[in-house]
Symmetry: C2
Subunit: 322 residues, 2 copies
Amino acid sequence: MGGDHAPAAPVAGALDAVRGDPGIVVDLVGRRADLEAEVASQGGAPANLKVVHADEVVEMADSPVEALRRRPEASILKALQRLAGGESDAFVSAGSTGAVVAASMMVLGRLPGVRRPGIAVPVPARNTHGVCLLIDAGANPNCRPHHLFQYGVMGANYYAKIFGEENPRVALLSIGEEEGKGNTLTRDAAKILRKSPIRFTGNVEGRDLFGGACEVAVTDGFVGNIILKTSEGAAEMVFGMFAEALASRSPEVLQKVMGQIDYAEWGGAPLLGVNGVVVIAHGRSDRRAIANAIRVAARAVNQQLNDTIVRGLSRAGAGAGP
Amino acid sequence: MGGDHAPAAPVAGALDAVRGDPGIVVDLVGRRADLEAEVASQGGAPANLKVVHADEVVEMADSPVEALRRRPEASILKALQRLAGGESDAFVSAGSTGAVVAASMMVLGRLPGVRRPGIAVPVPARNTHGVCLLIDAGANPNCRPHHLFQYGVMGANYYAKIFGEENPRVALLSIGEEEGKGNTLTRDAAKILRKSPIRFTGNVEGRDLFGGACEVAVTDGFVGNIILKTSEGAAEMVFGMFAEALASRSPEVLQKVMGQIDYAEWGGAPLLGVNGVVVIAHGRSDRRAIANAIRVAARAVNQQLNDTIVRGLSRAGAGAGP
């Protein structure tokens, strides 16, 4: 039921995912009547897709914790309870990020040793795999140095597992590459990261994110969220200028560039550190973004992501801490 | 001597500024031999431009405070000492931002009541004047709520003066528009701003910066600097994609868009809150950016910017505070 284009886009994306891969089974959790009508209008449900009823929906404007308290039958809670109870292996949502994070913490809890879960958003970058993982992108706006350390370790283990990159470069987003540049938080986090066994390569600046200077870029949830939205805004502004300047000439150029910057290519951002596989899709997700988010979740399940993360934290001595 | 294209670009920009406006007088402060050779190669100095010798230069890689201590004859210090002594009215530099901020604090000190100076960078936006002022863009990476309050008041007074906008909208950069969204710093700052007499319109998200939702966007220097560099990076990435997709077709489209996003249009960011007019130009400034930065400085002097700011702070009750 979540996202700007619900239920049409989530239903379409789920249908694409299950039709494309018989190994994926999707339960659509939400208002049965709405979902069944949508599924029917899109050609009906194959055997590996079913609708699970939930009476209520958390709206974007709601305060997450309040909304969850007032709506015990919300689809987000229902879906997470099914995951916690073993009726599913992963949860994907394009709904309110705040509500997904709060509900995941409440229902699933954290992995052993994790202080704060973090959202790991893949952004396009000019490195080997074309992707830089930005963590945290908004789960935790008030970070302590140890949280950033854990984000580095979780991000590195996720990247290594998903992209098969043995020793991903982990950098800290800051305001200058030189050691000692930054604010109190990043300077303290750098000290911990430098002593850790992960491949910490120091500070990167905002522009290097896209330049391919690292595989994992660590930041607090306040900065990470602002970075994502600012770069979206800047990219759209420039895209709009070209669209206007080109007018109706060269539509194939617009389409080609749109394909390159489209978040739908990446689709899903895992919430790392919760005790279960949770993938957050952009609120503006279209069917392709939803299908990709479902595939990201399936891959995380098949590759036993959370076992890897728990082992990685323990190996890096990142479990304990303030 | 500062910036990636020194001394050629600073000299060319200064020549453009003084040739275009006989009311502007520029002293080029730096190594006499280098500067005089450059001036001569660019057609010689008119009456309203002269060279003032300084023996040393602060390099970009230097730690600002260290560099200033080790180089008492640095051009940045020399120029600021002339400003403090009344031999000039303003200081413009494309050199190390950290060094300009540190030296300005040391040599000029702060305006009465100001806790921390802030860099006010104009960014392109879809509001009446086409400009949103982002403050602080990097002077103060560890902010307290009262600093953000002062940035709001200084930014509003600067915007009103320079653009003739009577009651500019001041917003706080955060991770959600709803009151109460953000981190501890922004939530506390919002409480102060809401009670103040300036036109505080609440939170804006990163993408709204370009959308024209406000005239002044307040943030701490860590976030502000990362925002600037990330949006530059994102804009360049998209621009590069179009340049590649268009190949050699439509060079006029590339040029038109370049003109729209070019920071050189804006040119200079005032360091608000120091006791003197200081304008910081981008390190990559070309001649046009330098000329614009000089004009920004001249306007700030002619309009008695700092008197306005001191009165504005006092009117808003923003002078005292923790």
